[in-house]
Symmetry: D3
Subunit: 136 residues, 6 copies
Amino acid sequence: MKVSVFRRAHFNAAHRLHNPDLSDEKNLQLFGLCNNPSYHGHNYVLDVKVKGEVDPQTGYVMDTKILKDVIKTEVQDKFDHRNLNLDTMEFKTLNPTAENIAIVIWQSLRKKIADSLELSVRLYETENNYVEFDGK
Amino acid sequence: MKVSVFRRAHFNAAHRLHNPDLSDEKNLQLFGLCNNPSYHGHNYVLDVKVKGEVDPQTGYVMDTKILKDVIKTEVQDKFDHRNLNLDTMEFKTLNPTAENIAIVIWQSLRKKIADSLELSVRLYETENNYVEFDGK
Amino acid sequence: MKVSVFRRAHFNAAHRLHNPDLSDEKNLQLFGLCNNPSYHGHNYVLDVKVKGEVDPQTGYVMDTKILKDVIKTEVQDKFDHRNLNLDTMEFKTLNPTAENIAIVIWQSLRKKIADSLELSVRLYETENNYVEFDGK
Amino acid sequence: MKVSVFRRAHFNAAHRLHNPDLSDEKNLQLFGLCNNPSYHGHNYVLDVKVKGEVDPQTGYVMDTKILKDVIKTEVQDKFDHRNLNLDTMEFKTLNPTAENIAIVIWQSLRKKIADSLELSVRLYETENNYVEFDGK
Amino acid sequence: MKVSVFRRAHFNAAHRLHNPDLSDEKNLQLFGLCNNPSYHGHNYVLDVKVKGEVDPQTGYVMDTKILKDVIKTEVQDKFDHRNLNLDTMEFKTLNPTAENIAIVIWQSLRKKIADSLELSVRLYETENNYVEFDGK
Amino acid sequence: MKVSVFRRAHFNAAHRLHNPDLSDEKNLQLFGLCNNPSYHGHNYVLDVKVKGEVDPQTGYVMDTKILKDVIKTEVQDKFDHRNLNLDTMEFKTLNPTAENIAIVIWQSLRKKIADSLELSVRLYETENNYVEFDGK
């Protein structure tokens, strides 16, 4: 019997959508206002889902205080109050769409979560736009 | 590697729950206050989920500006500020329960979304009542 | 020392914006989609605020269970799952804009709340549109 | 074609995290502030999901008024305004973590929902911590 | 020109409504389920409002990081994961209604906020029940 | 009898807190992470409140479609998907704290709203940090 445990976290970051392999004209056509060279920003909301067996001793799938700390180290310390394009290694060349940010976060968290646990992330760019990635 | 992309939209509509093949007594018994002949209404909230491969050039599964336009044409232009029972072809005879509205919306969107993408819809009638349909 | 106590309630109703003293053309020009003769609807959210001295015996300004019952009798029993234009006395001739609904609700509640207590209402038609009335 | 129907409910309860088979020191180490012997509490939010075929006569998977009543009898009447550790049979010895509460609720609801319907529950302990259980 | 600055914080606590000067019968009659001797609990949400002139050098009315720390020391460290009736000095004899908790919090914060700033607090016991106190 | 009408709008922008009249060291000390030279960003939420008499012909204080258009022209077209420090005239030298952004928005809207109407704005930088300004 497996239970899924979710932990929510927040980070505020600047970004622009831009593929450096394409011309400026093509970038503007593809990304419109999101391509603004001066950047814009979001309050990102991240929901991390970990699924596994409940430990009979603790009643936990995973101690959410530990999950909270992993999210802080792997996500918030890197991205909060940062410019994703300028200040992070991950998005120096990778376009920081919500899809790509979710994949990067999933890959970063995957290394820190026990292999016996399934992992999925949901990332809200705004209330109206969000994405989900489970590694498959 | 597939990512799910979600887009939220809103529409406000009147409706009544009523099956014209049943007697008025049976309708009242089945649907209670929701059967009110003068109609009542809701602020519907629609979350559309599209799942597929991330395009390496754009970093998008699907441009959400396009998804937003499809939702506008297929859902909001038809249902927003309308009476579902009186003003729409879809619910002339079909009872506009949340279940049936979700199926109708899914079928309408399915024709406009690339076959390579999986489609699912979630429809909130109120904060406390919502439904989900993925075509299966 | 006065404390304000708030109680939230919900009702779902159909309405159309229409002033019967004006021509159909003028109504359409003024109210656009909201003038649809077949009606549309909303999930209305009502926040009622009552301000007064805290009773030293109970620690209450007013028992919110009583306030909840007053809101049920004066607002929800009249308006929930109703068509405001067709099914209510209050909006037979009065145009059911959010402003007018808030005034009608305030006047109805005012008679049932002790004179020593100040009364204010906030009414959400949608997340993006709401009004407030305090009788002044 | 199956649709999922969701119904949300609320209950407010006190609890402490404590495994009576472990020492006080071990409990404090495992559960920290949540182990406070005087208890603390939460506004729990429960989303119950029922998935099945849509009845062609009613347009319902399951009448949500009936689902609402089942949740009231099986969950709210037992847990609302209660101390989970002291006032309930279920958590006399079982540690009331969100995971265990979700499992207990699922098991209780499962007996009252038709076998043809799939059942899943999501339980929010706070906005930032929630769990999901579908019986598998 | 004065601007109001708001900071939101959360704490989870157990309580019961009980006036020790009254009989058990009277307490039960006044407070019903909220009088449960084993306690129940809430996720309290606190919005603190500070109003004053904007400092031309910083563009701040008050540094919200400092306000956050004051709320932590004066409210969260005292009340979070506590039983208000058993674990706090403030509610040993004072009935912990939302009204009284708001007054206690306001009085505690008032001593730590500069006299030049106006102070008001809003406390949510649930989404549907909340109170406001500004010291007047 | 006056009613207040509220309209909500959203914009996503990058900014950094920085007072060009102060040294870099002083800026870093005052604003910490918010001083990041590469900027960070937010999903700003703006609630505009207009208070006045209800027009007996329309039942409106002010047509919220017009208010929506004014907010679009005066706020969203200027700030949405922009870098407040780099892309706007208003914050070339003025530090874009929530307080200052609210004042700038109020001043901009004030010129477009009839003098007979009172105006107030609330600006959310995050769920936990927001400000309010009414021109006094």
